[in-house]
Symmetry: C4
Subunit: 221 residues, 4 copies
């Protein structure tokens, strides 16, 4: 059996994902500061927090789903090199950054729902994240560079195909921010759900399975 070299890279990434997703709860600390915490005051402060809750759940779902995707990619990636480690760091940089635009969006939207720059930063972060995911995957899967020797070519092709949608659709989210902030946030949420389920492999042509695989994997195979 082929030995997996990526154990520590996955452990480190798991740690970063786990901390980043847990730190999101710190964006909730704000309403605990007022000195008067009667039921009335608490209810009012909680009711004004719904954008914070929405941003929290969106970011949690996104980071969680990013983790699911990271997990899915590293089912196929078996080897590692300095390039992969640096691209993985770049992706983690974006993951780690997520709590900041989340907190900012939550605070701005609660007070100034008519303003949009915090939402631009929020959606822009996801746009860059989609690009990082593509860079990581293209780098590892290009000519099967770092994939396992027996990597399932159909599953690999399915990921490559699904990931094409990432940058394109997050660009739409980003543009949408200037038209309607709520619409852009809802689209962002829908995209998270889309990337939660694994992509379908390309249409199966029973007779030419091997040929298709070769086509997908590129001329380097």
């Amino acid at each position: 059996m082929e030995e997996k070299e990526t154990g520590r890279l996955e452990a480190f990434s798991d740690g970063v994902f786990a901390v980043a997703i847990t730190l999101l709860v710190l964006s909730f600390q704000a309403p605990t500061t007022p000195s008067s915490l009667t039921d009335q005051a608490l209810l009012i402060s909680l009711s004004t927090q719904w954008p914070m809750i929405f941003a929290f759940v969106t970011s949690f779902a996104t980071i969680g789903i990013m983790w699911i995707n990271h997990h899915r990619l590293f089912n196929h990636i078996k080897r590692t090199d300095t390039g992969l480690q640096l691209l993985n760091l770049l992706l983690l940089l974006m993951i780690v950054f997520v709590p900041y635009p989340t907190a900012l969006l939550a605070q701005q939207y609660a007070k100034h729902p008519d303003q949009r720059y915090a939402a631009v930063l929020f959606n822009g972060t996801y746009w860059i994240m989609a690009i990082c995911f593509n860079l990581l995957w293209r780098y590892a899967s290009y000519h099967n560079r770092l994939l396992g020797k027996n990597a399932d070519q159909r599953a690999v092709a399915a990921i490559s195909r699904q990931y094409l949608f990432g940058p394109a659709s997050y660009t739409i989210t980003l543009v949408l921010t200037w038209i309607s902030v709520p619409a852009s946030l809802i689209l962002n949420f829908i995209l998270a759900l889309f990337f939660a389920v694994p992509g379908r492999p390309p249409r199966q042509v029973p007779q030419s399975d091997a040929q298709e695989s070769r086509e997908i994997a590129g001329d380097g195979l």
Copy 2:
């Protein structure tokens, strides 16, 4: 031997549990701000903190015991799919959320012991958490979907039976909050201890062991 697919899911979950349980200590930061920290002032500020300490210990115990339960479930769960990963994320969302109602309850109860909404949020969080645990377990154990091939059917049945009590008894806790906040918190604490010890397997009928197992596992086996 059957290979375990859930390694990274467990590692990620361990990370989230570890961070969430450790972040609880941040709810203690409040009394460090006053400029005058004489022994007298420190004693007074510590003495007013007892609800904070109670909430801290309760939450620590609960998250710790949740981890023990998660560990117990994944002794039996050997395979993984997107459904399990999403239900696990939902459970982790609740775990990660725990420090927030904990801090809120601690602050409100210290200042307004007659108010109850923070306690409602606190107990409600545990109620939802109990439901999430049941969803995760029912999903994985339904017709042995994701369990190991040689899963101990008696242990599986014991978990299923014990988990039936979860949502029911946390509903009582939640209702009790409107009658007496301290009573509801004490019941919450007792429930944590109940879930710390493994459930007893259903009454053993020596002659019909195999039959019983079949019965428990359902018609799908």
Copy 3:
């Protein structure tokens, strides 16, 4: 070879240790708030922070050394049960609590070096931690309950002997706090170093090695 059951317990504990030790740096956040951060002001604010730095380094060393000790114990502990998991949680509760008395001591000592209650809390925390470590080890090693079948009885006896000193010497530290706060903190630091190095096995009597081992392990073997 004997299989190790404690993998996830160690992974979870490693996570808690790692987060707790890293959160210590948050106790440094205080001096960043003043609006005027000229070199002059920075130097003054840093110079008043030396107790904070001392407390930080002590706590870091202690948590780090606690981890080394945890690691050392689990070289011998191979099996796990609910009792061990709960005692381990109790120990982690103390570990997680460490950043709080550290921050408190640092703040009080910088402003009121004549006051002692924060130091009492600090030293008291380590005293309870020493007791927790003993409980965990006595529980696991009692009649070799959870140790590996081929556990090195001499190493086990060395740990048992060294750990006897823990509660006793931390009691001295605690008492010393009422006489001299700096002396108690220095003793605390020295104790950390003492527990960093492994205990020497009991005096070797070449001819009766087997007999001695039996004696150490108790009548239950």
Copy 4:
């Protein structure tokens, strides 16, 4: 195959690296406090934050690259002892400390770009970190003390050679702080990139490969 003893040490270190790198984002919390978060105010507050962003990215890159280096060293280190554990803790102490000078530098530089003590602390931290890395590696590789039996002597020599540059070049960075703060920060960033790529093994002399290895590994082999 030689068994690796360093599993838990690596897991604990991974945890510390992961938490430290993720906590960096907390240095961004500052601008969320102002009550007025209109787009105008947000843009201004973000534009004054560029030194914060630069420090964040530098620290993230450095901790990430430190992790890559830690990973690289432990590809060769297979055994562990108390000395290694303590040197590793010393290194982690510096890693954990990084977010503090980062936040301090970011705050001072944004307000008083003419002041330099925060930059001295920042660059000094990296200087000590370079020394810690050398101590860890020299300790483990001295006469192959803790390396694997079949350690690749050429790779070991390449690391030893590259690491010689560390303390020297970070000394230059530190001295440069008194001449020009921006120049020293840029050099710091360039050094991070230099240590991201693995060092080249010493010039290969095909005929005397064995002899060279012996020379590199020292007389103790």
